[in-house]
Amino acid sequence: MSPPETDIALHLSDVLVQFGKTQLRFDCTIGRGQIVAVTGASGSGKSTLLNVIAGFETPDAGKVEILGENAAGRDPAERPVSVIFQEHNLFAHLDAGTNIGLGIDPALKLGVKEKAKIAAALLRVGLDGFGKRLPPTLSGGERQRVALARALVRRKPILLLDEPFAALDPGLRAGMANLLIDLHRQEGNTILIITHHPDDVRLMADSVLFLDQGRILLHEPAARFLDHTDIPAVARFLGR
């Protein structure tokens, strides 16, 4: 049994981020090993929430705790977090294997053991033998799989995904979601995923963070969220 405080992967209290006149406030606690869907209209602050956790954005006030430790003053690389964006996750001039290798050592000093790790990660995302391929020769879905493989070799307990499937067509989306669930089961990591699709919520999420105008409006189990038609903003999101 792990000590009780580490059962909490993320804890944000009174976090304030200001852009000119816009104020975003985040308060939430996310348990370890969950898959959390982050949803809400565009401009509601979803990406900012992820940026605050990843360390790309410094809050103007409040406290961010990651695995029980205060994250203030920690560089993005020092946080136990991997990030995957909608696109441009891979350096286009480096082949897939090298892109993954950068996750093991950012100066790219790789030995035989590390090379084996890269091959194994490619195998796990279903891209065995794709190591020498350059990103522009891969499909959008394949590129996202390589990004996922890099997150795997980094072995960070928290994975943040900012609309990772938005550029993929529906068939691929479902495949990617299933891959993500499989890997989650093996790794037991905590996943925050921004999505616009109720289907993603249904398929993957344990719980849902629903943002509206810079506030976390709801944080509840996915099943209950999907029945929430009493709140207009949620009803609009669910298309009802």
Binding site: F56, D75, A77, H88, N89, L94, L102, P106, L108, R154
Partner: protein, 565 residues
């Protein structure tokens, strides 16, 4: 009702057809004139036969393998290579520092400062550089003051290199900055998330994007340095440091040795053509960085060492660029500007310069616009005739033709061609106007072409469907839509002509003195206070005209959006 509409449409189509033919004819005429002007000069060089000299074979034996000619050629390539390498090596840290510090105070102004040398007449810049790096300049005075008595020499190879770096380092840095700013923002975030150190960021993110631009940038700078005339003439300081262009000028103007001028001209044409082919084969030069635009979030260079290093690099670059400019302003203000302004020689030079600049600028813009329109007309049917396709190809190749034969070579050809007709100076105004017009043509073409393409795409079908044509379309649609780019192109062409020394140097005389020529004579005659005042004036006018003639980032982006929409 239906019949009148049909009739109207038929009439519109007829007008359209006649207009198309006229446009094609006018474009062909312009192209023919340009080709004739260039080819006559080249022909004169090739066919020149000095009475008393043996045939072509002897000419080649005597001059092409002449030690002097080879030395000049070697020096030309050497200084161009060194200038290119230095400019690029120095531009990399500057571009990187500017890219890493998106919130640097006054960053936009620094980037604008880096665009200034492009609009500055080379002669004015040379004067500013002498003011800083010269024997009595700021640098050497400071060196002497701290007890060093080894002065830095601005004349010879080192001076030429300093001047070429002054002009081309900022150009290279701006192009590289453009490349760095086009890197997707996610790269910096991924790099930060993976914990890349500055060395890794340079190796995996920055360098690959700069590397892709290098062939284009290097080709461009090498071309500019290999055909540099004014800077080498003023800073070369003697026959030991002479480029082909300057040697042509000296062969004609001082030694009166036409065969040597011919040999050198042919050498120059082969060098420039080899360069043009090389540049064509390399990647095209990309857009410049503008310093505005979207905010880039970078996580390197935020703390201590990296930040101080970047500031130091930026400060040094700013000093290197701003000091000579400041020197021009300071010594210009010290000169007796009122006396200069009332000097009849200066006034006459001003009038001459303005008339030449305006006439050559107008000719240039008019012929470029006609040729671009003709090119559009040639492609307007879905299957253009072969002859029309040929015309269109000729028009787009014409700007390269102009680059192939630099002004001094062009001038040398016409010098030889007109000499049998009497005093060459009589033809000076016409030749200077035409040569200046040709010089500006590639630039004007590049400003006008995209603007006119957008305009045509927006308006041509509508105009035809409304039956608008001829004069009415020019007045109601074309002029309001195109007057801005046309005036911008004119402004740029005038600035080039106003600052030019190359063409005037060959033909200038007592009867035709332009401002740059006057400035050059005053510099050579050690009347340096006069020179300082003239330089300030000339520099200001050219800068204002160039700034007015440069498309702004926002307008450009808007245009691109319109094209894709």
């Amino acid at each position: 009702m239906g019949e009148t509409t049909d009739c109207k449409r038929y009439k519109a189509i007829m007008i359209d057809r006649i207009e198309r033919r006229l446009t094609l004819a006018a474009g062909a005429l312009c192209l023919g004139g340009i080709v004739l002007f260039v080819c006559l000069a080249a022909g004169a060089l090739l066919a020149f036969d000095e009475p008393g000299s043996a045939g072509d074979g002897a000419l080649f034996d005597a001059y092409v393998f002449d030690a002097y000619v080879w030395r000049v050629a070697r020096f030309t390539l050497l200084q161009a290579s060194l200038s290119t390498i230095l400019s690029i090596l120095l531009a990399i840290p500057v571009a990187r520092a500017l890219a890493r510090q998106p919130a640097f105070p006054g960053r936009v102004w620094i980037i604008r400062l880096m665009a200034l040398p492009l609009g500055l007449p080379a002669l004015v810049a040379a004067l500013g550089l002498i003011g800083i790096w010269g024997r009595q300049g700021v640098l050497n005075t400071a060196l002497v003051a701290i007890g060093l008595d080894q002065p830095v020499s601005i004349y010879g190879l080192s001076g030429i290199l300093v001047a070429h770096v002054f002009f081309n380092m900022p150009l290279a840095a701006r192009l590289m900055l453009g490349g760095l700013e086009r890197i997707p923002g996610e790269y910096w975030l991924v790099g930060a998330n993976l914990g890349m150190r500055p060395v890794s960021i340079f190796r995996f993110i920055e360098w690959p994007s700069i590397r892709g631009l290098l062939p284009g940038i290097a080709g461009l700078i090498f071309m500019l340095c290999a055909t540099s005339f004014t800077l080498v003439l003023t800073l070369g300081g003697g026959p030991a440091a002479s480029t082909i262009e300057v040697a042509i000028y000296q062969a004609l103007r001082f030694d009166f040795d036409p065969p040597r001028a011919i040999a050198l001209s042919l050498l120059q044409i082969s060098v420039t053509s080899a360069l043009l082919i090389a540049i064509r084969l390399l990647t095209p030069v990309a857009d410049e960085g503008h310093g505005g635009g979207r905010t880039v979030r970078r996580f390197d260079g935020r703390d201590g060492f990296g930040r101080v290093g970047d500031w130091l690099v930026i400060a040094l670059a700013v000093l290197f660029l701003a000091l000579p400019l400041g020197s021009v302003v300071a010594s210009g203000l010290r000169s007796d500007l009122v006396r200069l302004a009332s000097d009849p020689v200066v006034q006459r030079a001003l009038v001459t310069s303005v008339v030449i600049a305006l006439v050559s600028g107008l000719l240039c813009v008019l012929s470029a616009a006609l040729m671009i329109r003709a090119r559009q007309a040639a492609f307007s049917p879905r299957r253009p005739l072969a002859i029309h396709r040929g015309l269109a190809a000729g028009i787009s190749a014409s700007s390269s033709l102009v680059l192939l034969v630099p002004p001094v070579v062009l001038g040398a050809g016409w010098f030889l061609l007109l000499r049998p007709l009497g005093d060459v100076a009589r033809f000076a105004p016409l030749l200077v106007i035409l040569i200046n017009m040709l010089m500006a043509l590639p630039f004007v073409y590049r400003v006008l072409e995209p603007a006119m393409a957008t305009h045509t795409a927006r308006t041509s079908r509508l105009a035809v469907s409304l039956g608008l044509g001829g004069w009415h379309r020019l007045r109601l649609i074309d002029w309001p839509g195109l007057c801005k780019p046309l005036l911008m192109a004119l402004s740029f062409a005038c600035a080039l002509s106003l600052g030019d020394l190359g063409a005037v140097a060959l033909f200038g005389s007592q009867d035709m003195v332009t401002l740059p020529w006057l400035l050059y004579s005053r510099m050579a005659g050690y009347r340096s206070t006069d020179a300082a005042g003239l330089a300030l004036f000339l520099g200001l006018v050219c800068l204002v005209l160039t700034i007015a003639g440069t498309p702004r980032a926002g307008a450009d982006g808007q245009r691109r959006k319109d094209v894709t929409a």
